[in-house]
């Protein structure tokens, strides 16, 4: 009964989203207040209904209702409760429902926070969001019903894919979706502005906090996925240019460009049409990411089902959304004028360079990700594009970008007046060079030729970000959250560059055959394989080894890598043993018995790798701080238009 209730609620939500789209868009077009008045109740109703639906599916999971096909395919009576809930988004149908629910939540937040926006504008924003929601709910109901019954019900479920049974992965998809779907809000604001034919600096101020919060969620989501691949899949790195990683990275790159271009639009009224284009692009890439990951055209741990109708549906939806928005853009954007001019060393110009380089980087990733698919679709020889391509290409736009960050951060609006900041620029570079070269040549020893550049630039970004806040503190000026947020996020970027340069240069790794009692020397470190024995978990059994890491002969860490055999899906999984220190990670994974009491092991030391994920956390924190700045609430209220503020955090 409960699953049918969930299914019914989902169909009602579909109907309501259609009403929300229709009355939102046409109510504003006809300037009909009664039509517009329907929109907010429709949003609220849709949220309640989708929540009911997702609640019904959670109930089916928690209560072991294996008569529901989706539950039977992704759960098992031995699965711990936490993962039974997380199993909801463990496969295709449930993750679509989660997507729809997150969109309903964002829309509800917009409905609440937009009470003081001009009614026709708010109505259009919610109308566009209704349209997106309609598409996704129709997709779910028509092709991917998570409530489908299986009769007779199997005695037990086929279990959640063991690689997904992990705490970081349980929250990775919701975070990522909050980011993806958050860009739908920026997209809706852009479409509403184009429908109104009016885009001013106030518009940019409304849009900014939503975009920044979405971007922060996306940053956390990507970092969690990367962390998970590191320790759970035993890939032993932070980024592999896997197509699915790229699918989430492209909207992040364009979203980063968007939050910077919005800053210029808000402060100086420039880049209006460019900002609109980026908003459309960021959401389109989010949809493309969903298409790539969910349609099964990419082979990866993420592609659950290769059902062509689903792929075609998302592709069609993508064409309608992108095509429609671009047509609207072509019609309306020429009407927008960006009056203010600026010099090539002004802050506006640096933000423009930032945008060009970030979009170029996104384009590189796009080409690398889609080329194999295009080659396949056009019947050319099958190809694969891997890390060699990205290793060469990705630094090309990124290195100039990082240098420009360190310089451009000192530029003022309109006129750069970089001459006044000459001392800061060179002092920053001098400090960074000194610290960086000390770190490279004294602490670590020379690495690759790019290493000193990466390390120095990373430190330079950090130092450059600090000048302005320190100067303000010295002059006893207050630091707004916007400035603190920007500083924290830029420090995050610097830490990220520094950490990646270090990991890429000083990682030591080795695969070896080793027997208990033997030791593997590794520079100053040594890994001693102590023992291996049997273990049993709630839904698996396996082997667990004990490995002691010695530094200069003294033990510094004990690692416990495991091999797990999950009973239901009969798959074997490697759980790496990892010990994290502030300056390095010690990693060991045991693979297989080679006979003669020997085992194959993979051993790694990765200096500063944890700082890559920490850096993503800093960027996200910076985003949240900047998005909750006072001016989005109080100053806008003075103008009788309260901007959407912290409610975005739901």
């Amino acid at each position: 009964m409960i699953p049918e209730l969930g299914h019914f609620a989902l169909i009602l939500a579909l109907v309501l989203s259609g009403a929300q789209a229709f009355f939102g868009i046409f109510g504003a077009a006809r300037n009909d207040a009664r039509w517009q008045a329907v929109v907010r109740p429709a949003v609220a109703g849709q949220f309640v209904l989708v929540s009911t639906s997702i609640g019904a599916l959670v109930y089916a999971f928690v209560s072991f209702d294996f008569s529901v096909l989706y539950v039977a395919s992704n759960s098992n009576s031995a699965l711990p409760t936490f993962y039974r809930v997380a199993a909801l988004w463990g496969a295709h149908e449930g993750s679509l429902l989660l997507w729809a629910w997150i969109l309903a939540s964002w829309t509800l937040a917009v409905a609440i926070a937009s009470r003081n926006l001009p009614p026709s504008f708010a109505s259009r924003v919610m109308g566009v969001l209704g349209l997106v929601s309609f598409g996704f709910l129709l997709f779910t109901v028509a092709t991917s019903n998570p409530f489908e019954r299986i009769i007779p019900a199997p005695a037990d479920g086929r279990d959640l894919n063991p690689v997904l049974q992990d705490p970081a992965l349980a929250i990775h998809p919701p975070m990522l979706y909050f980011g993806y779907v958050g860009f739908a809000v920026a997209f809706a604001f852009a479409c509403a502005a184009m429908l109104e034919g009016k885009l001013d600096q106030v518009w940019a101020r409304w849009t900014r906090p939503w975009t920044t919060i979405a971007w922060a969620f996306l940053s956390v989501g990507i970092a969690l996925g990367s962390w998970w691949a590191y320790y759970e899949l035993g890939w032993g790195g932070y980024w592999f240019w896997d197509p699915v990683e790229n699918a989430s990275f492209m909207p992040w790159l364009v979203g980063t460009a968007l939050i910077h271009s919005l800053a210029a639009t808000e402060k100086r009224g420039v880049f209006k049409s460019w900002t609109l284009l980026l908003a459309i692009l960021a959401f389109s890439l989010s949809l493309l990411g969903t298409f790539l990951v969910r349609s099964g055209v990419l082979t990866s741990v993420h592609s659950f089902a290769a059902d062509p109708t689903r792929g075609l549906f998302i592709l069609g939806f993508l064409v309608i959304v992108v095509g429609g928005a671009l047509a609207l853009y072509a019609w309306r954007a020429p009407m927008l004028k960006s009056p203010a001019g600026f010099e090539p060393t002004a802050r506006e110009a640096f933000l423009l360079y930032n945008n060009i380089l970030l979009v170029a980087a996104a384009a590189l990733v796009f080409v690398g990700t889609l080329a194999p698919l295009i080659a396949d679709a056009t019947g050319m020889a099958p190809i694969s594009v891997g890390s060699p391509y990205y290793d060469v290409m990705f630094p090309l736009p990124m290195l100039p970008l990082f240098v420009l960050v360190s310089v451009g951060i000192h530029a003022s609006w309109k006129r750069g007046q970089l001459g006044n900041s000459r001392r800061r620029i060179f002092a920053g570079l001098a400090i960074a060079t000194l610290l960086g070269l000390t770190m490279v040549y004294v602490a670590y020893g020379p690495g690759k030729w790019l290493t000193p550049f990466g390390v120095v630039i990373g430190i330079w970004i950090i130092v450059s970000s600090l000048f302005d806040p320190i100067d303000r503190l010295r002059r006893r000026l207050t630091l707004s959250r916007a400035i603190i947020g920007m500083t924290v996020a830029h420090i995050g970027l610097g830490v990220c560059v520094l950490a990646i340069s270090t990991v890429e240069s000083y990682t030591m790794e080795r695969d070896a055959a080793i027997a208990p009692g033997e030791t593997l020397a590794f520079g100053r470190y040594a890994y001693r394989f102590d023992s291996i024995g049997e273990i049993e978990g709630p839904n698996y059994d396996g082997l667990r080894a004990e490995v002691t890491v010695l530094r200069d002969g003294a033990p510094v860490a004990v690692l416990h890598p495991e091999r797990r055999n999950y009973w239901v899906q009969r798959s074997t999984l490697t759980e790496a043993g990892i010990a994290s220190r502030w300056n390095t990670d010690m990693f060991v994974a045991v693979r297989e018995h080679l006979g003669g009491n020997r085992w194959s092991v993979r051993v790694q030391m990765r200096p500063l790798i944890d700082w890559v994920w920490l850096a993503a956390g800093l960027m996200a924190l910076g985003g949240v701080l900047a998005a909750t700045d006072r001016r989005y609430r109080s100053q806008a209220a003075k103008e009788a238009v309260t901007a959407p503020g912290s409610a975005a955090a739901t």
Partner: protein
């Protein structure tokens, strides 16, 4: 004007570098029949895909060295590898190897097999569709 010219030149250089990097760093895929027909380049890195032939895996005890045959049921290619094998490397299962051809032996530096039991590398699935295996040779390719 200077700015626009600079951007055009910059984009041009970037596109050229991109095309170069793309050409040099893209890996092509070959199946055993194509290798037997001499289509695969000597000494260049490429992807080899097919099924691990049953009974062909030879490990030397206590070391990481392994030899096996990759087959598309028409031809086979001997593969040599030294290193960690993926969890799902099995006889009779699909496999993709990266490496170079040396004197008729494929010397692999990376072996891929994904985590999902149902996984079949798409190129392998396609190659098998074009060269259907004899009915009794293998379990039905599980890739759907």
């Amino acid at each position: 004007m200077t700015l626009v010219a600079g951007i055009v030149v910059g984009v041009g250089i970037a596109a050229w570098l991109g095309a170069q990097a793309f050409r040099n760093n893209v890996m092509f895929f070959f199946d055993p029949s194509q290798i037997a027909a001499g289509q695969a380049p000597q000494g260049e890195r490429f992807r080899l895909g097919g099924m691990v032939e049953k009974g062909s895996v030879v490990k030397s005890e206590g070391s990481l060295d392994i030899r096996f045959l990759v087959t598309d049921f028409k031809h086979t290619v001997p593969v040599k590898y030294s290193g960690i094998l993926p969890d799902l490397f099995r006889e009779g299962q699909g496999v993709v190897a990266h490496g170079r051809l040396q004197n008729g032996t494929f010397v692999a530096d990376e072996i891929l097999a994904k985590h999902d039991e149902k996984y079949m590398p798409p190129e392998v699935a396609k190659s098998l569709k074009d060269n259907p295996p004899p009915p009794d040779a293998v379990p039905a390719p599980a890739g759907t």
